[in-house]
């Protein structure tokens, strides 16, 4: 079952609701009237560039920051003012934050000891958690003798032994190298499925977000830009920011001639969008892999290849055509200087309303809040 279905039909139970949250640090407004709900058993990712307010949102849910206004509802209860040690959720911190003076077993046992669990229970839990993160036998090691990836997994084990209903993860893979990061992504998905709890994940890495999430919340400058499944966010970006932030894209100022027809760089393209009115200025998003190149020159726009880079799976090319530099990903090879034609099928042309001003660009999708 996919997240979109759950999200749109509201069959799933809302576990956490943020109502009109605002927060500033000094004179800097970090979150402005942010509203969001999170379903039970959802893997939700807050995605955005640094300074977009995603970590602050997570820290507000965790209880480490108090919002200036607005409320946090957890399972029907207002927890806005509840301190972190009283919340039914646990956090995996950015730099792991293992206790350096305790060994691995003591680190994992910390929360359980505080809760006064029995010795046998704690020992069982430590064994179970270490098995779950594939680090059996590490009980007596000290944190600083572990690699970054291992420390990360201990941080996760330390959080989940407390059986939280929600696990908050603050850029947990940020400090790991690429290969390890990819392995850990699969590990996290497996953990999420085995534990059956809600994951709230913060990252600036769009690939990470697309791989793991049921739902992605794209944020910028303290505002939510778009909420949706990874497919929705990638294929139907709501505005230029989302389109630009998620993957590479060609964003072109165009004119909507009428329903299902858009004029891009002086050439009419059939498309599938309706309801923008006639002769309306719009932004068009075309993903680089959706641009069809042909050296038979049978496409709608003619151009010349200006750059070519081999990327492994595909070639990345730049094509100068009608005064625009098109970014193209293609398995076909067209050397620099080759005259080519460009075409796009109607379904792959994504039309977005043009924001009138910068302010509106940030506020753009208020209807989602």
């Amino acid at each position: 079952m996919n997240g979109l279905f759950v999200w749109e039909t509201e069959l799933a139970k809302k576990l956490i609701t943020l109502n009109h949250i605002s927060k500033s640090f000094g004179s800097q407004l970090v979150l402005d009237d942010l509203s969001l709900y999170i379903n039970e058993n959802e893997f939700i990712t807050l995605l955005g560039p640094s300074g977009c307010g995603k970590t602050t949102t997570l820290r507000i849910i965790g209880g480490f920051e108090t919002p200036d206004s607005g409320e946090v509802i957890f399972d029907g209860e207002d927890i806005t003012k509840l301190p972190p040690n009283k919340r039914q959720l646990n956090t995996v911190f950015q730099r792991y934050a293992l206790f350096p003076h305790m060994n691995i077993a003591e680190n994992i046992a910390f929360g359980l000891k505080i809760k006064g669990k029995s010795r046998d229970y704690i020992n069982d839990k430590i064994k179970y958690a270490l098995k779950l993160v594939n680090l059996d036998g590490y009980e007596t090691r000290m944190p600083d003798s572990l690699s970054g990836g291992q420390q990360q997994r201990i941080a996760i084990a330390r959080a989940i032994v407390n059986e939280p209903r929600v696990l908050l993860l603050d850029e947990p893979l940020g400090a790991l190298d690429l290969k390890l990061r990819q392995d850990m992504q699969y590990e996290l998905i497996r953990l999420k499925n085995e534990l059956g709890i809600t994951f709230i994940y913060v990252t600036h890495d769009q690939e990470e977000a697309l791989t793991m999430s049921d739902t992605i919340v794209v944020m910028n400058q303290g505002y939510i830009q778009q909420i949706g499944t990874p497919e929705m966010i990638y294929n139907e970006p709501e505005n230029a920011f989302v389109a630009d932030f998620i993957g590479d894209s060609n964003i072109i100022r165009s004119t909507m001639v009428r329903d299902e027809l858009v004029n891009i760089l002086g050439v009419d393209f059939p498309c599938v969008d309706k309801g923008f009115g006639e002769n309306t200025p719009v932004d068009v998003v075309i993903r680089p892999e959706d641009v069809i190149l042909s050296d038979k020159l049978d496409g709608r726009i003619q151009g010349i290849v200006s750059h070519l880079i081999f990327k492994g799976v595909h070639y990345e090319m730049e094509v100068q055509a009608n005064g625009f530099e098109w970014l193209v990903h293609s398995t076909g090879f067209f050397p620099v200087g080759t005259p080519v034609s460009i075409d796009v099928i109607p379904f792959n042309i994504q039309i977005m309303n043009k924001p009138e001003s910068e302010d509106e660009e940030a506020l753009g999708i208020e209807e989602y809040a």
Binding site: G62, F64, N85, T91, F99, I114
Partner: protein
């Protein structure tokens, strides 16, 4: 190549000379006088003299007062260091400045100032009698000595502790909160164990000068209370028995070395380097 090496060695020369003339030779003299009698023949009498009632009493009294002063400093400094740690940068620099400011003034002057404040007809009693309150008799008591020690040495306790607390990653404290720990539990399980190096260097830096002081006890304790520091001082200045003074100094040095070994074991990160 050889020339630069020789040059580098030359640069160290002032420090070698300094260490030779102001540390090694004086230390050698202390040992020479301590281990000889007036005629210059080898003896352990000067060291054994510590067991004589008056000397032993002065040593134990000094240990006792220094321990109490160190304990009071620790109790005052730890909460203060915690508070400093939660302050914003601008306010905490100011607060630290307030604590360091008196250290820039002459130690003797500060102690004499306390003498003036505490005297029978001093400033404090003046204010008390003005308010029709009974006068206090603190001057020339052990209490006055402890007060002087705490006042003079408190910054040496605050700074190393603050230094080690401020090094504790904020996210570790957050993690403890996140796992359900309340304030006292965080203090006991996170702050205290992680600030042990600072506590140990703070204790060393207060205990050693408190143990060896003779100025504070002389100015605030009157002539009634003799600490080991006063005994040694008088052997040099009054009775001119350098041999006995040196012998007792060697004994005192043993206590200091013992304390410094302890501190070296626990303070691997060198918190005391902060000062």
């Amino acid at each position: 190549m050889r020339r630069t090496k020789a040059l580098k060695k030359m640069l160290g020369l002032p420090y070698y000379l300094w260490s030779l003339f102001f540390i090694l030779i004086p230390l050698g003299m202390v040992f020479y006088y301590g281990l000889t009698d007036r005629s210059g023949s080898l003896t352990f009498e000067n060291i054994a003299a510590i067991v004589q009632a008056e000397h032993a009493k002065a040593l134990f009294y000094a240990l006792f007062l220094a321990l109490i002063a160190t304990a009071i400093c620790l109790l005052l400094a730890y909460p203060l260091a915690l508070i400093l740690n939660t302050m914003r940068i601008s306010t905490h620099s100011f607060t630290i400045l307030i604590f360091i400011l008196p250290m820039w003034m002459n130690f003797l002057l500060r102690t004499i100032a306390w003498q003036t404040l505490l005297e029978k007809t001093g400033v404090i009693n003046g204010i008390l009698s003005f308010l029709h309150l009974p006068p206090i008799h603190v001057i020339n008591t052990p209490h006055a000595i402890i007060l002087g020690m705490v006042y003079n040495f408190l910054p040496f306790m605050v700074l190393p502790i603050y230094n080690s607390i401020s090094k504790i990653d904020r996210s570790i404290v957050n993690a403890a909160e996140d796992l359900g720990a309340n304030g006292p539990q965080i203090l006991l399980r996170i702050y205290l164990p992680l600030s042990v190096p600072g506590i140990i260097s703070g204790i060393t830096m207060v205990f050693i000068p408190a143990l060896t002081t003779f100025v504070i006890s002389k100015l605030l304790g009157g002539s009634k209370i003799l600490l080991i520091g006063n005994v040694i001082e008088e052997e040099f200045t009054l009775t001119s028995n350098w041999n006995l003074g040196s012998g007792l100094s060697i004994v005192l040095m043993l206590f200091i070395i013992f304390n410094m070994i302890l501190s070296a074991i626990f303070d691997k990160e060198g918190e005391s380097n902060y000062l």
